[in-house]
């Protein structure tokens, strides 16, 4: 077996759907039936999950640390809001795509700034771009509505059939469908040869370049794709809440996003969704204790996670499931060996 087929078979094995993944999505759909009174918060989780997948694509797979990912979320949110407000594109799905492409265009243009320099410069540039956009949105308040945000957005019914209701039922299924569709695309991307090359770049850019991978071009492409995802997440935010204000560009949004992804774990796509759900649960829990000062406890979670160590934490959490799976495998192999003896 040559190295090429080896890598190919490995990648193909990894790309195969695992039963736990199917279970995950069935569970997500089941949530809709189990908690019919919680559509709004579940929609929020789905949206954040999509946003976190977007960050996972560049952080978990390509190793770009971004402190200003809210920039693209904000562009998507404002694009969707403006399109709906002025009645340019009435159909939500088309507006969603348009907002995504707007964010992708900005992502493409700014990616040239991001690929220059090392970690620290990237942090600064991404943060700077986000602040710049926030300042721009504030400056052109006649378009964006300034601190008040866009007023009076009305989202037309989906395909002209399903109106966005007050309980968020349509919004939830719409978000779930969008998330699932984009998740499939992301899954396809990260298991493709392109995705494998990204991982090579993350692990060692110099070596990847020596192997003939066009590092900068790959980073530009994935950064643009991630911006598209974040734009869609922002547009979903506007469409399901009929809101878009300066707050979409806030630094806290980018920082919370990093926390979500780190809670869930980077580099396997589900981390973003799981992290978003855990983050929302934590947030609800802390605001239940202290409505005004929940940020303190959230900050404490940040600090504790880092002090314990991200890898170690995942090992602890996965300890029981791994133990059970290990036992099961042992039992099976023992059973198989026993059968072999009998025959």
């Amino acid at each position: 077996m040559t190295a090429r087929t080896d890598v190919g078979s490995y990648a193909r094995r990894k790309a195969r759907w695992h039963w736990s993944e199917i279970g995950f999505w069935i569970l997500a759909l089941a949530c809709a039936l189990l908690f019919p009174s919680r559509y709004l918060i579940m929609t929020d989780i789905l949206r954040l999950g999509l946003f976190a997948i977007s960050l996972d694509l560049i952080l978990g797979y390509a190793g770009i640390v971004s402190l200003g990912h809210a920039a693209f979320f904000g562009i998507g949110a404002y694009a969707a809001g403006l399109l709906a407000l002025h009645g340019i594109v009435a159909e939500p799905v088309v507006a969603l795509l348009a907002a995504g492409f707007a964010a992708a265009a900005v992502g493409f243009l700014t990616s040239f700034l991001v690929i220059r320099g090392a970690d620290l410069t990237r942090l600064m540039v991404t943060l700077g771009i986000c602040l710049l956009l926030e300042a721009l949105a504030e400056r052109f308040s006649n378009i964006t509505g300034g601190t008040d945000g866009l007023q009076g957005i009305e989202i037309q019914p989906l395909f002209g059939l399903f109106a966005f209701d007050i309980f968020g039922r349509t919004g939830f299924f719409y978000s779930l469908a969008v998330l699932f569709g984009l998740f499939l695309l992301a899954r396809r991307i990260v298991h493709s040869p392109f995705g494998l090359s990204l991982r090579a770049i993350r692990n060692n850019p110099l070596r990847a370049a020596a192997m003939g991978i066009p590092v900068n071009r790959r980073l530009i492409v994935i950064y643009t794709i991630a911006a598209f995802y974040a734009g869609i997440a922002g547009a979903l935010f506007t469409q399901t809440t009929a809101l878009a204000s300066l707050d979409v560009f806030s630094f806290e949004r980018s920082a919370d996003l990093l926390l979500m992804l780190v809670i869930g774990g980077t580099g396997y796509l589900y981390g973003g969704i799981i992290g978003a759900a855990l983050f929302k649960v934590l947030q609800a829990f802390f605001s239940g204790i202290t409505p005004q000062y929940w940020q303190f406890w959230m900050g404490l979670v940040f600090v504790v996670i880092v002090m314990i160590g991200r890898q170690r934490m995942h090992r602890w959490i996965m300890w029981v499931p791994n133990l059970m799976l290990g036992r099961l495998a042992e039992y099976r192999s023992a059973l198989a060996a026993h059968r072999g003896d009998v025959q």
Binding site: V65, L67, V125, L132, A135, R139, F296, G299
Partner: protein, 289 residues
């Protein structure tokens, strides 16, 4: 013409203040390569210590300032020993998460303890009003800031360049392994430097309450300014950050005066272009250390 001089004067005062606030970060981020986004939290601590002492206990301002320094330095030393030192070798992502967590905690804690509104420090009468020099109105408080910060800058430069501790610090930063081999207690040098930088930030925070405004969101609002000073100034010496602070101060004051509507837009644009042009900062080293 008078307007120009006033802008120049205010800009220099603002820039000097930024330097005192950010020079501690120039060491942790620029030299020790630790992304400490929580630097502003130490500045805020100093500011609030000063405000409590002056406003509630009736201390004179000049007695409260050294205590603002000492208080922030103490907290800085404590946190360095307990938490920061474990993270020097970790990835930048870990450091970012950790320091953002600290910022969130400090914002909420100060909000809880001191309330969310802006705090003013009562100034002694001698520092209020303006002096007229050749027709240019010069604020007394800003003049005092320039004097204090100017003296501090000279002192810092002398400590770094002339004292034994300064040479130890430079050695520890340039090559920690060789420095340990020579018998320098590198962790101790880092701890002292870190605490000293936090103390300076605290002093800067106390001085800046009048100019920048002091409220619980201080660390978030000015985080980008501190980072700009360090990344634009580079880390080869104290001169780089110093010049960067002056340019930033002058640019910000002039920008607010001439193009008030563009707000911080000008500063961010300049920042991004400088980083694209010279990723290691204007006065940075050429190698990728």
């Amino acid at each position: 013409m008078t307007v120009l001089f006033t802008i120049l004067f205010d800009g220099v005062a603002y820039g000097m203040l930024l330097f005192v606030l950010a020079c501690g970060l120039a060491v942790t981020l620029g030299l020790m390569n630790f992304v400490n986004l929580a630097h502003g939290a130490f500045a805020m601590t100093g500011g609030y210590i000063c405000a409590v002492l002056v406003n509630r206990s009736g201390w004179p301002l000049f007695a409260a300032l050294p205590l603002a320094f000492a208080g922030s330095a103490l907290i800085g030393a404590l946190l360095e020993r307990l938490l920061y030192r474990h993270l020097y070798r970790r990835s930048h992502l870990d450091q970012v998460l950790f320091s953002v967590g600290l910022v969130f905690m400090s914002v909420a804690a100060v909000d809880y303890l001191m309330g969310s509104s802006r705090v003013f420090i009562n100034l002694p009468a001698a520092l209020e009003g303006q002096i007229d020099v050749l027709g240019v109105g010069i604020g007394r408080y800003r003049l005092m800031i320039i004097v204090i910060c100017g003296l501090l800058t000279v002192a810092l430069q002398l400590i770094l360049a002339r004292t034994r501790f300064g040479s130890r610090l430079r050695a520890a930063v340039d090559d920690p392994r060789a420095a340990i081999g020579l018998g320098i207690n590198v962790p101790q040098v880092f701890a002292i430097t870190f605490a000293f930088g936090c103390g300076l930030a605290g002093l800067g925070g106390a001085l800046s309450a009048e100019i920048l405004g002091l409220d619980p969101h201080f660390p978030l609002k000015f985080m980008i300014y501190f980072l700009i000073v360090v990344t634009v100034g580079g880390s080869s010496s104290m001169t780089g950050p110093f010049l960067a602070s002056l340019v930033l101060g002058l640019g910000d004051v002039a920008g607010k005066y001439y193009v008030p509507k563009m707000g911080p837009f000008v500063i961010y644009t300049i920042l991004i272009f400088i980083l694209i042009w010279r990723p290691n900062g204007l006065f940075g080293r050429s190698d990728n250390r």
